[in-house]
């Protein structure tokens, strides 16, 4: 199984573009990246087309945007993890032998509505009957976890401001990133409180985006690309939809299970990964993702980040794109951006901060508060 081509749209508040125009932008870049473009099926990762735009049947809408009427397909929904799950579904369609070439697209439109409307739609990633019904936003759920983390591990608020600063540093060099300004720890600590202790600059921005990845079987990969990148591991995992009944909010079961499966399938471990794109919708999400993937022991990631670990030049280098924080987080598209970025890193043509020579890359995407997670491992 190979990634044979990638295409991304710059993440932004694209008021002049709908789903079709965004997808068109990404796929045009993908077409320029391959020698041959004839996908047999389309998988679309998206979270909120239904709740915000009253639009289902997204695969058909997308097919017409890119001149592929007639191709079969479907939308994959796993909240903010929809993109990663779309990759898993596309992988399965090719691995099963059903198709040789499948186009996986992630697309999300978030900026057309007032923040409170988008916030309400995002809250649907939580348990509606027992969390969102109280007006609990998605940020609030993550804030509960962050306070617990700071309390249990005695981490100070300023310690947890280093991550977003680094993400903006990386994002400033990524032409596809939504936020390309540099920030300081003081900027983070002075930014508006959304749900205490989460501040605006702990949070990924609201933006629109689309990314596309062409998956192909070994039989045809060489015809499509001169530099195909192999997918060697795919894993999925889940945790309780509600937070109250989880065993331990600081030990993300879905990440551990998805990672275990992907590592085992790839025959590698956390120490073998050179470069990773992980889910950091909020600062706390980055810490739990790093720990869940086995890059740090539980409760240790914030100390390692403080020591400069996981930055460019380290192994693994994490979120050289700027992560969800600075690259942007068009929720259902994010997981596809990550796989595209890792493939480019392994090919050596990522247009931002480069990892250098790398053999193994990992993409980790999750929906909800680490509720539905995918881990994809790629090999040069």
């Amino acid at each position: 199984m190979f990634v044979t081509g990638v295409g991304m749209a710059k993440i932004d508040r694209h008021y002049d573009k709908g789903f079709q125009e965004l997808v068109h932008m990404a796929v045009k870049n993908l077409v320029n990246d391959v020698k041959l473009f004839s996908p047999e099926a389309i998988v679309v990762g998206n979270m909120m087309s239904s709740s915000l735009f009253q639009q289902d049947s997204l695969a058909a809408l997308v097919a017409d945007a890119i001149g592929l009427r007639g191709r079969g397909g479907f939308k994959v929904e796993a909240a903010c993890g929809s993109g990663g799950h779309a990759i898993a579904a596309g992988y399965a369609l090719v691995a099963s032998g059903l198709y040789n070439q499948v186009l996986v697209i992630g697309v999300e439109k978030m900026s057309d509505y007032p923040t409170t409307t988008t916030t309400a739609a995002l809250a649907q990633a939580a348990d509606f009957e027992h969390e969102a019904i109280y007006g609990t936003s998605f940020v609030a759920l993550n804030a509960l976890v962050m306070r617990l983390y700071m309390h249990r591990y005695e981490a100070k608020r300023e310690d947890l401001a280093i991550w977003p600063v680094r993400m903006h540093e990386h994002g400033s060099q990524n032409p596809y990133a939504q936020l390309r300004n540099k920030i300081t720890v003081e900027d983070v600590l002075k930014s508006a409180v959304i749900a205490d202790p989460i501040r605006l600059m702990d949070s990924s921005p609201i933006g629109d985006g689309a990314a596309a990845v062409l998956l192909a079987s070994e039989d045809v990969a060489g015809k499509i690309s001169d530099t195909p990148i192999q997918i060697v591991g795919v894993g999925m995992g889940s945790d309780g939809l509600d937070l109250a009944s989880r065993e331990d909010l600081l030990n993300p079961m879905s990440v551990r299970i998805a990672a275990e499966k992907a590592y085992k399938m790839a025959g590698v471990g956390p120490r073998d990964i050179d470069v990773a794109e992980i889910h950091d919708a909020f600062t706390i999400t980055a810490l739990l993702s790093i720990e869940g993937l086995g890059f740090a022991e539980l409760g240790e990631s914030w100390k390692l980040i403080k020591d400069g670990r996981f930055a460019a030049g380290d192994k693994p280098s994490i979120n050289l794109s700027g992560g969800l924080k600075a690259r942007g987080h068009p929720v259902g598209a994010t997981g596809v951006y990550q796989v595209a970025e890792i493939a480019m890193q392994l090919r050596g043509d990522f247009p931002g901060v480069k990892v250098g020579k790398a053999d193994y890359g990992l993409a980790m995407n999750t929906g909800g508060v680490a509720t539905l997670t995918t881990v994809t491992i790629l090999k040069r």
Partner: protein
């Protein structure tokens, strides 16, 4: 947000009486109630009423709140550990944001949690207030 009388009625046990589930196989109790045990996987569970007192184990003060809840901002959402160890996520009420702390004793009270409009459906449910230790 769309709400129906059937949906409100169906949830009454958990929302009005703080009913959770108890697993008939492993004996664990949990909230919200579910038709299967999330810990051992048993399909046999029964409804149990939970203790109404507990303590805050984490909380947030929510300033940017979804539509329909703006009049309640800032909203205090807490994760509460009840006296039997079961955890519940619920709003705190009758307390100021700067008075909340981890370990604060709280008790359940029935309050209005959402209304459709002045003449529309109203959803009632459990909130927690500060309790005398």
């Amino acid at each position: 947000m769309r709400m129906s009388p059937a949906r409100i009625w169906r949830e009454r046990g958990a929302r009005y009486r703080l009913e959770g589930s108890k697993c008939r196989k492993c004996g664990r109790v949990f909230y919200p109630p579910k038709p299967a045990c999330p810990y051992c996987g048993s399909l046999e569970v029964e409804k149990v009423e939970l203790p109404k007192r507990g303590k805050v184990i984490s909380y947030t003060i929510e300033y940017t709140v979804p539509e329909g809840y703006r009049h309640l901002a800032p909203l205090i959402i807490a994760l509460i550990e009840l006296e039997n160890g079961v955890k519940v996520l619920a709003p705190l009420t009758d307390v100021k944001p700067d008075e909340v702390y981890i370990g604060m004793p709280v008790e359940a009270t029935l309050r209005r949690i959402w209304e459709e409009s002045d003449e529309g459906l109203i959803v009632y449910g459990i909130k927690f207030t500060p309790a005398i230790p």
